[in-house]
Symmetry: C2
C-alpha cells in the first residue's frame, strides 16, 4: 500500500518532469514533489537549461513545510556544481527527512554520490520507484553516459503498405497535417536533426521547429560526403546552425572552407572519416556526444535509414502511417538488401501506437538499449 | 439527459448483441434490453440461428414486468415469420409501451413494417439511437440487402514495412501466435472464407475455425480458374464444405465433375464466368449473396488482394502488423501496378487500431460502404 502511494507521487513527479521536454536539454527532464502529512506542499521541474533544478523549485514552494517532509524526485539529486549548485545540499538544508528516487544519475559526477551524501546527512533514501518510467523520460541522457553515443530516433511518414515515396521521388504529402504537426514536437525535443544531401536535394526541406512556443532550434546535421548540396538550399538560411558532415578524404580543408564561405547563414563543415563511400555515422555520433547531444532525429530516405538499421545504429523508429496504399511500384521504407530469409528480419518492439489525426503513429524500439529502456510498457 | 439514458441502455443492448457473433449468422446480431422503473428487467440477444430472437429472450425474462415498460432493441423488430414468429406481435402482446430502435431492418420483408405495426398498436417508437454503432455490428447483413453483395474483408499478416512474404514465398510466420489466434475469431464470424489456388499450393492451409467453442465452419471458397489445386490438399479434407470456383469457359462440366469426384471430403465445384483470365469475383459475390453470405473473409496473396482493391471490391482490410522489418526485397502486401502518382493512391480510414500480443491489428475501411458504416468512430 505504501508502495502504491510512493508510485502515485512519483507518477506526479514524472508528469511534472515532462514540462521540461523542450527546454531542459541537454540536461535531463526531472520532476519533483514534496509531501508533508499526506499533502503535496511543493512541486517543481527542470524547465530550462541553466536555470534551477526540479528540487529547488519544489523546495522554494514548500518553504518551512519541507522540514520533516518526503521528497520524490525522478532522478538522483545532483552532487556537483554545474550551472547551478548541488541539489543535495539544498535538500539537506531544507530538513527533508526522506528522499524517494526513481532512477540513478548516470553522470559519473553524480552516479551514487547524491544518494551517499543524503544518507550521510541522516536522510532515509528509497530507490527504484517507477525506475523504467523515469528513465524513459531521458533515453538520450542515459545513452550519452552509458553508451557514449546519442539515442537515435528515425522519423518516417509512410503509406499503410510501407511506402515512403513514389518511384519518381514524389512524397509530399503522404501523411496528414496533424501528423506533420506532431513531428514538430519530436524535432523540438531532439538536440539534433540529421538528414542527407539526397533528401535536401529532393525536398529542399528546412528541418526547423515551427509552432512550438519556447522551443530552441535543434542542431541541423547534413550528411554530405561529396559536398553536393546546393549552397542555395533553404536548410542553410534557417534560424539556428547547420553542421555539414563531409568526408575528410574526398576534400582538402581549403576546398571545404571555400564551399562553406559561399553559404549564407550559420554553417559549419566538419570533416569525418569515411566508410563504404559515405561519411562514417559512428564518427558523427562520437562528434555529437562531445557536443552533449542526447537525442538525434533522423529525417532521411530509405537508403540512409536502411544502412543505419543494418548497422544496428537506430534505437527507435517513429513512424506515421497514413491509411492509404501506394502499391508495390513505390519505394519501401527501408532499403535492406541483406535480408533474404524470414529469420534474418530486423526485430523491434512497439513502444506505443497512437492515432494522430487520420494517421497512426508508431514508436518502435529497435536496439537492445531502447527495448531495455521501455520494458515497463 | 433522457437521450443519454437511452444511449446507455442501447449500449447495453449492443453489448448483448455481440454474444451472437459466431452463432446468429446469416441472421444479424441483435441485442435487447427491457427497462421498467429505471431498472433492467429483461435482457436478450439472438444467440443462434433458428432459435429465439433477442426480443423474445428479453420478454421471457421480464415476464409481467414488461407491461408498460420500454424495450430497447438494436434492430427493428421483425414483422414476418421466418424460423420464428414475428417479434412485433410478441412485443405488442406483452404490453410494452415504448420501443427504442437503433437501426432499421434492411430486409424488404421488415423494412419499416415492424415500426408501422408497433405504432398502429399504440406503442411509442423512438428511432435513431446509436444507429451507426448498431449497424456496425452487422456490415454483411446490411451489405447483402442494400448492395446485393456480401461485405468483403481481406485479412493480411505483414511486417512493419508492409511485406507479406519473402521473395521465395516464405511467410510462416511473420505474425505472432496471438495474432493468429485472433484471426480465428474473424474466421468464425465470417459466413465464408475465400482463398486462391496459388495460396493453397504455397501454404497447404486448412482455413478452418479452431479453438472457438460453438463456432460453425464457414464455407471455404477456393478460387481456382484452371483447377490446378492438388486434390490431396488439406483444405478438402477438413470439417465443413469447400466450394471450388472454376472458370466455365476453361473446362467442360464433365471434366469438372471428374475432378470433383477424385476429392475426398465435402466439395462442390461451381463454374463461373471469367474476367481477364480469372474467375469473375463479381460472379462469385452474386453466388455468395444467393447463399445468404453476409461477411466474406479473403485470405490470399498480394496479386489477388491487389486485383480486388483495384476493382473496389474490398470493404475492409484486417491487417496484423508485426514489429519487424523484412526489407525491400520482400513481397509487398498489395500488387497495385496501376498506381504511379501519389494522388492515385487507394484511400482508407482506420476503423480501429489495437495491440494483439506483440503485434498491432488494424481495421481499415476501404470502400464507401464500409466508411459510411463506421462513421461514428
Amino acid at each position: 500500500m505504501s508502495n502504491n502511494i510512493d508510485e502515485m507521487y512519483m507518477r506526479q513527479a514524472i508528469h511534472l518532469a515532462k514540462q521540461g521536454e523542450y527546454g531542459a536539454k541537454p540536461n535531463p527532464m526531472v520532476g519533483c514533489v514534496i509531501v508533508a502529512n499526506q499533502q503535496i506542499v511543493g512541486e517543481g521541474c527542470h524547465l530550462q537549461y541553466g536555470q534551477a533544478h526540479a528540487e529547488i523549485h519544489a523546495l522554494q514552494q514548500a518553504k518551512e513545510l519541507a522540514k520533516g517532509a518526503t521528497l520524490y524526485v525522478t532522478l538522483e539529486p545532483c552532487a556537483h556544481t554545474g550551472k547551478t549548485g548541488p541539489c543535495v545540499n539544498a535538500v539537506i538544508q531544507a530538513g527533508i527527512k526522506h528522499v524517494v528516487i526513481a532512477a540513478g544519475d548516470p553522470n559519473p559526477q553524480v552516479n551514487g554520490k547524491g544518494v551517499q551524501l543524503l544518507q550521510e546527512a541522516g536522510i532515509l533514501v528509497t530507490q527504484g520507484v517507477l525506475t523504467q518510467e523515469a528513465k524513459a523520460l531521458n533515453p538520450g541522457f542515459y545513452s550519452r553516459f552509458q553508451r557514449s553515443r546519442p539515442y537515435v530516433r528515425a522519423k518516417l511518414g509512410m503509406s499503410f503498405d510501407g511506402k515512403i515515396a513514389m518511384k519518381t521521388g514524389e512524397s509530399q504529402w503522404i501523411t496528414s497535417t496533424d501528423a506533420r504537426a506532431d513531428v514538430q514536437k519530436w524535432r523540438a525535443r531532439s538536440c539534433a536533426i540529421v538528414t542527407t544531401a539526397a533528401t535536401v536535394i529532393q525536398d529542399d526541406c528546412r528541418l526547423t521547429v515551427r509552432d512550438i512556443p519556447g522551443a530552441k532550434q535543434p542542431l541541423r546535421i547534413l550528411f554530405d560526403t561529396q559536398l553536393k548540396t546546393p549552397q542555395s538550399s533553404q536548410i542553410f538560411s534557417q534560424a539556428g546552425k547547420t553542421v555539414v558532415a563531409v568526408s575528410c578524404t574526398k576534400h582538402t580543408s581549403q576546398a571545404i572552407s571555400a564551399w562553406q564561405n559561399k553559404v549564407q547563414g550559420e554553417v559549419e563543415c566538419i570533416a569525418l572519416s569515411e566508410e563504404n563511400e559515405h561519411v562514417d555515422f559512428n564518427a558523427l555520433l562520437a562528434w555529437l556526444t562531445e557536443k552533449t547531444v542526447n537525442e538525434v532525429m533522423i529525417e532521411a530516405g530509405a537508403q540512409f535509414v536502411g544502412a543505419l538499421l543494418e548497422k544496428g545504429l537506430i534505437d527507435e523508429l517513429l513512424v506515421y502511417v497514413a491509411p492509404k496504399l501506394l502499391g508495390n511500384n513505390s519505394i519501401s521504407m527501408a532499403h535492406l538488401p541483406s535480408i533474404h530469409q524470414l529469420n534474418e528480419n530486423i526485430q523491434g518492439k512497439y513502444l506505443s501506437i497512437d492515432k494522430i489525426g487520420t494517421d497512426a503513429r508508431f514508436r518502435i524500439a529497435i536496439s537492445d538499449f531502447a527495448r531495455r529502456h521501455h520494458d515497463h510498457s
